[in-house]
């Protein structure tokens, strides 16, 4: 940091930290006696901070409280039953949960390559002048309301993608079983499917994965990049040996966050799918479902048991997304702290 030419005198006053120049802004530990006002102030702030725990705790508590009726009514078959007939006490998440996960997985399969390509493009290939604009554009894509994605998917994408879906079903269906469509070759066989919902959800999680990955890619140490170039690497060689290994943790975390978001996505999915209640094996066929779409489409049913069943399903969704998101948070934080020690 300090070159020999610089006078060493200004730092003599703080012998403990000789490395930090005057413009290096390192906060010192400040100990001040707390006034009564301060104590009140800190108490209020602490309450605001802990309100996060309160809110999340209340969400869990009320979902359990309200969902317990339904769980008591059907017991463990809530996890094994595929149908959703609340009046007949015959309902469970064995269809909606895996079907929802399937939508999320399809979304990831489409979104991850595009998002990583875009992230690499923005951090490594795009002209420097365009970079800020591209980052803003990705942020804007994340800010577009999900209902607009749903409208776009339903009215713009679906009529145009049917030809491609039909092509996949007819030509790949025989070799890859889950691409088969067994309901006859008419237009409505190919609409409102798990695949189309997955494509729209993919668009919604692209910005999340892109912006997080771009952030970790752009933090790859400059010295190692130049080192790779100096050893005669091509740009891709540099990306493959420096940027990607450096960003691996962050990318995994970003993909997990995207998965969590994809699982919870409601409105776009609910607009596109036509709900069904059996576990899906053929992703191009009409009919799909997810927990969140189920809640959005069925909450109008007024009897208590139906609502209670939805609360129980919401509890499962809440627990799953919380698990995925907290795990993703840990992965990302670990990769960040690693980046701090890398140079």
């Amino acid at each position: 940091m300090t070159s020999a030419a610089e006078p060493a005198a200004p730092y003599a006053g703080s012998p403990g930290r000789p490395d930090h120049g005057p413009d290096q802004d390192v906060p010192r530990v400040i100990t001040a006696p707390a006034t009564p006002g301060d104590r009140v102030f800190r108490g209020v702030l602490r309450m605001a901070g802990l309100s996060v725990f309160a809110i999340m705790g209340l969400i869990a508590f009320f979902l359990i409280l309200r969902g317990s009726d339904a769980l008591r009514a059907v017991g463990l078959s809530f996890l094994t039953e595929q149908k959703w007939q609340t009046a007949a006490h015959n309902f469970g998440i064995a269809a909606v949960l895996p079907n929802g996960l399937l939508i999320a997985v399809i979304a990831l399969v489409i979104a991850v390559p595009v998002a990583l390509g875009t992230a690499i493009f923005i951090s490594e290939y795009a002209p420097v002048r365009l970079r800020a604009a591209l980052i803003s554009l990705i942020d804007l894509m994340a800010a577009i309301p999900s209902i607009v994605y749903g409208l776009w998917g339903l009215f713009f994408l679906q009529p145009r993608i049917i030809g491609f879906v039909r092509w996949m079903a007819n030509h790949l269906g025989d070799t890859i079983p889950f691409l088969k469509v067994r309901t006859g070759d008419i237009g409505t066989s190919y609409t409102s499917s798990t695949f189309i919902a997955g494509v729209v959800v993919a668009l919604m999680i692209i910005p999340i994965i892109t912006s997080l990955s771009r952030e970790v890619f752009s933090q790859a140490p400059q010295g190692e990049r130049e080192g790779a170039y100096a050893l005669g690497s091509t740009r891709w060689g540099m990306v493959r040996t420096v940027v990607l290994p450096f960003g691996k943790g962050g990318v995994i975390g970003a993909v997990m966050l995207g998965f969590g978001r994809a699982m919870g996505e409601t409105i776009a999915v609910a607009l596109i799918i036509s709900p069904n209640f059996k576990a899906i094996t053929h992703i191009l066929e009409n009919g799909a479902n997810s927990i969140s779409a189920l809640i959005a489409l069925r909450f109008g049913e007024s009897d208590t048991l139906s609502l209670s069943a939805l609360m129980a399903a919401g509890l499962v969704l809440f627990a799953l997304t919380l698990l995925v998101n907290v795990a993703a948070g840990f992965v990302i934080n670990r990769s960040r702290s690693g980046s701090a020690t890398a140079d």
């Binding site: 010192r28 400040i30 001040a32 707390a34 006002g37 301060d38 102030f41 800190r42 702030l45 602490r46 605001a48 901070g49 996060v52 725990f53 809110i55 999340m56 009320f62 979902l63 309200r66 390509g117 875009t118 591209l134 803003s136 554009l137 942020d139 800010a143 577009i144 309301p145 999900s146 209902i147 994605y149 776009w152 339903l154 009215f155 145009r160 993608i161 049917i162 030809g163 092509w167 030509h171 692209i206 091509t234 740009r235 891709w236 966050l257 919870g264 409601t266 409105i267 969140s292 809640i295 959005a296 909450f299 939805l310 609360m311 919401g314 809440f318 997304t321 998101n325 907290v326 948070g329």
Partner: protein, 409 residues
């Protein structure tokens, strides 16, 4: 790739030059341009694109029984990559071909994402302008408009007002709570700061339908209130608060520690320091945080869907009766099988997009400034104060027996 023309190190002239390296010194150092686009690069990309287009047209449209624009584009892209690889292999080394191929893939995924955003905005614009170009869309509600009425009748005034009121209430709840939590994490800290941060991050990704379900379960089922705009604003608060907190914490952390130290050195208490120094310094960033939270909140559909209740009537009171908002308006009308209703839904989507865009651009413009960086107006004010003080000081010197400005109070 590029040859460096190095300066002659040892001049071959008459020997015994005392410092041979000095011969190179007066020559200005020329920056070596690495990379850049050559004519071959352009021709290779263009050739691959045109060749694959022709081949794809023949195969896809004529030989193989495929159809659909979507499949055509995908097949064209794959053929293009193959063609580019083949063309590159003719002229370049294997490593370089791979490098160029990855470059092309990266460029195309970036372009794809840009095209998707432009397409989405353009599509909503074109479909939405059909109903939104009639002024009645913004001045009337759907009170007396049936599904078959023309789009020159009825509008989304009720939804716009509902959205603004619910967003306003939610902002009122979420902003103090969110900023206080952010200040807690960065200024008070302690053992609890880290778990709070983890939970806030998890809460950011809380499925919006769960927030709606929560408020439905608490406010409406447990406490027996009716569905209302107020209940919707509570659900929106749950969605907006973590966003505000996260964005606010980032900017509060950027406030220079020396400012805090200066405040403490002047005898300020912690609460005075935060209130008079930290928060004002971070103001532009905090406004950005709030606006980002609002942009997220205004477009949330599922919390509103479960908690506010739909009505076609105008309801300006968020505390009683059902109240419609823009996302809910869209959700209800685009599902109806009437062209006029779908057009209204798209016009509402256009309105919503414009609101989000305005909020987003506001956040960008404000967020461009770092904490503590002054606006032009602030700089002018400081200059004016400085001039006044100077004049006062000069006056004090001219009249040595008069009271100095500081002592006048």
């Amino acid at each position: 790739m590029t040859t460096l023309d190095l300066p002659p190190v040892a001049a071959p002239g008459p020997a015994a030059d005392p410092a041979p390296t000095q011969a190179a010194a007066p020559r200005p150092e020329r920056k070596v341009r690495l990379g850049g686009i050559t004519r071959e690069d352009v021709f290779t990309v263009a050739g691959a694109a045109i060749g694959s287009l022709a081949l794809n047209w023949m195969l896809y449209e004529r030989v193989l029984p495929f159809s659909g624009a979507f499949g055509f584009l995908i097949c064209w892209y794959l053929l293009f990559l193959a063609g580019y690889f083949a063309l590159g292999r003719l002229q370049w080394h294997r490593l370089m071909v791979r490098d160029r191929l990855v470059g092309v893939v990266a460029w195309s995924s970036g372009l794809l994402v840009v095209a998707l955003i432009v397409d989405q905005i353009g599509y909503v614009l074109s479909r939405g302008s059909e109903a939104a170009q009639h002024l009645n869309f913004f001045t009337q509600s759907m009170d007396h408009t049936g599904p078959l009425n023309p789009i020159t009748d009825g509008g989304a005034l009720n939804a716009v007002v509902g959205s603004l009121e619910q967003l306003g209430l939610a902002t009122l709840f979420a902003v103090p709570l969110g900023i206080a939590a952010a200040v807690f994490m960065s200024e008070v800290g302690g053992r609890m700061a880290r778990p709070v941060r983890t939970l806030v991050e998890a809460m950011t990704a809380l499925p919006s339908i769960v927030a709606g379900l929560f408020v439905l379960g608490v406010v409406i089922i447990t406490f027996g209130f009716e569905k209302s705009g107020f209940a919707a604003s509570l659900a929106l608060t749950v969605m907006m608060m973590p966003i505000v907190t996260r964005a606010a914490e980032v900017v509060i952390r950027l406030v220079p520690g020396t400012l805090r130290e200066a405040s403490y050195a002047l005898g300020g208490s912690q609460w005075r320091t935060v209130w008079n120094v930290v928060l004002p310094t971070a103001r532009p960033g905090l406004v950005t945080a709030v606006v980002l939270g609002m942009a997220r909140g205004v477009g949330e559909t599922s919390p509103v869907l479960l908690t506010s209740g739909f009505t076609s009537q105008f309801n300006g009171n968020p505390f009683s009766d059902h109240q419609v908002s823009l996302p809910l308006y869209i959700w209800n009308y685009v599902k109806q099988p009437y062209d006029g209703m779908i057009a209204r839904g798209f016009a509402a989507a256009l309105t919503l997009m414009i609101v989000v865009l305005i909020l987003f651009v506001t956040a960008r413009v404000l967020g461009g400034r770092r904490p503590g960086q002054l606006t032009r107006a602030q700089k002018r004010r400081i200059d004016r104060d400085a001039r006044r003080l100077e004049k006062a000081a000069a006056g004090a010197v001219a009249r040595p027996y008069a009271l100095r400005p500081q002592e006048q109070q």
